[in-house]
Symmetry: none
Subunit: 123 residues, 4 copies
């Protein structure tokens, strides 16, 4: 369900939080949907439970998640327009910009870049 990479330099709790945000924005996670328990996720990704817990707390503070005593974390009701295509594309912007910067530093042409993306999507 989630992809966590301890090598990337980005704190794990941030990676997790960002992925939840994206799946909410994308509509894959909707109001009322339940998330895996802290322990479950921790086990699955061989990570300390406190790390998962920190991500959940962060998302709760942001209003993305709701906590109910004794129940799994749930997706909170989202503000309107959250799921509009525009909103979702906006989410992707920083990564796209970062990608373009990288490509230019690598002297990869725009065509090559688009082509590489295409190939990765292909199969």
């Amino acid at each position: 369900m989630f992809t966590l990479n301890p090598q990337s330099g980005i704190p794990i709790y941030r990676q997790l939080a960002e992925q939840v945000r994206r799946m909410v924005a994308g509509g894959q996670l909707r109001e009322g949907d339940e998330l895996p328990s802290v322990r479950e996720l921790a086990l699955e990704h061989a990570v300390n439970p406190m790390t998962i817990s920190k991500a959940y707390s962060l998302l709760e503070a942001e209003g993305v998640l709701m906590r109910q005593r004794g129940k799994p974390m749930q997706i909170a009701p989202q503000k309107k327009q959250q799921h509009s295509q525009q909103a979702r594309l906006l989410h992707l912007r920083p990564q796209l910009e970062q990608l373009v910067l990288s490509a230019r530093q690598l002297e990869i042409t725009d065509e090559q870049l688009v082509e590489s993306l295409r190939q990765l999507l292909a199969p």
Copy 2:
């Protein structure tokens, strides 16, 4: 010359190191080229000199940079094939994969993704 983002979660010295690596792989920085001095970069990016220094040391340990006493850091001679297009595209892979993952979590279609990239590149 470099783009450093203190918010990104990735340590600044790692961001800098990665960008130097890319510009070397891309051929924008070549053997013998001198990098800005530690102090210069530190001032420019409002960052502590030691942070820059740490990136330089890392790159020296990797063999990307050479140090000559009292002189600015220089690009070291690179191994062959370093600049081949394949090598450069390989550099971009992790970011591309990360982008695709994000897009899928956002339920952005492949066409929309390619289209977004196109628009960003456009003019």
Copy 3:
């Protein structure tokens, strides 16, 4: 456990790193053994934690130490032949050569030199 001398002109972090290397080569530190924490060593030698940390990072980059999040630094598995007597004597060579050079500049005879070493070792 370690002897650090701030006056010697050799950077403290390098002194520490070299002593760890030696104790690994000598077999006093073995795969899996844990090193004192950064803070502990820093306190003990009245030195800044970052100085210790720098030595540890250097040794990790060399493959002498392993890092596990939240845990003390551990000795990494060493390449074979690392502990052979020959390997260990090789480690000592530069110091022996330096000693002989010094003795000759001091016009100390070879017999006197060996005798001095003997006396220091005696009891």
Copy 4:
């Protein structure tokens, strides 16, 4: 005449100064003897003249060298007892102690250590 090693971590000017001190203590350099010029030494060891100059100034401040306008640096008159065997052996002490420490960290036995020294002296 001198052996300078830029890799050793010990500042070059300190290495040079220490070697002059030893040759004075050992009697190879005596009152009135002239040292090579700053330029000469700098050229010979591919080192910046200021580095040599710094060593000479240090030794002058210590009273080991004398400077006379327009003349090469000379060895200054030394205090008595400077050349006694005891004084010369005392000079060697720190290095001997350092060597023994290293040997013990390498788990090299006392016999092996003495034997290694012997072999190095042999030819």
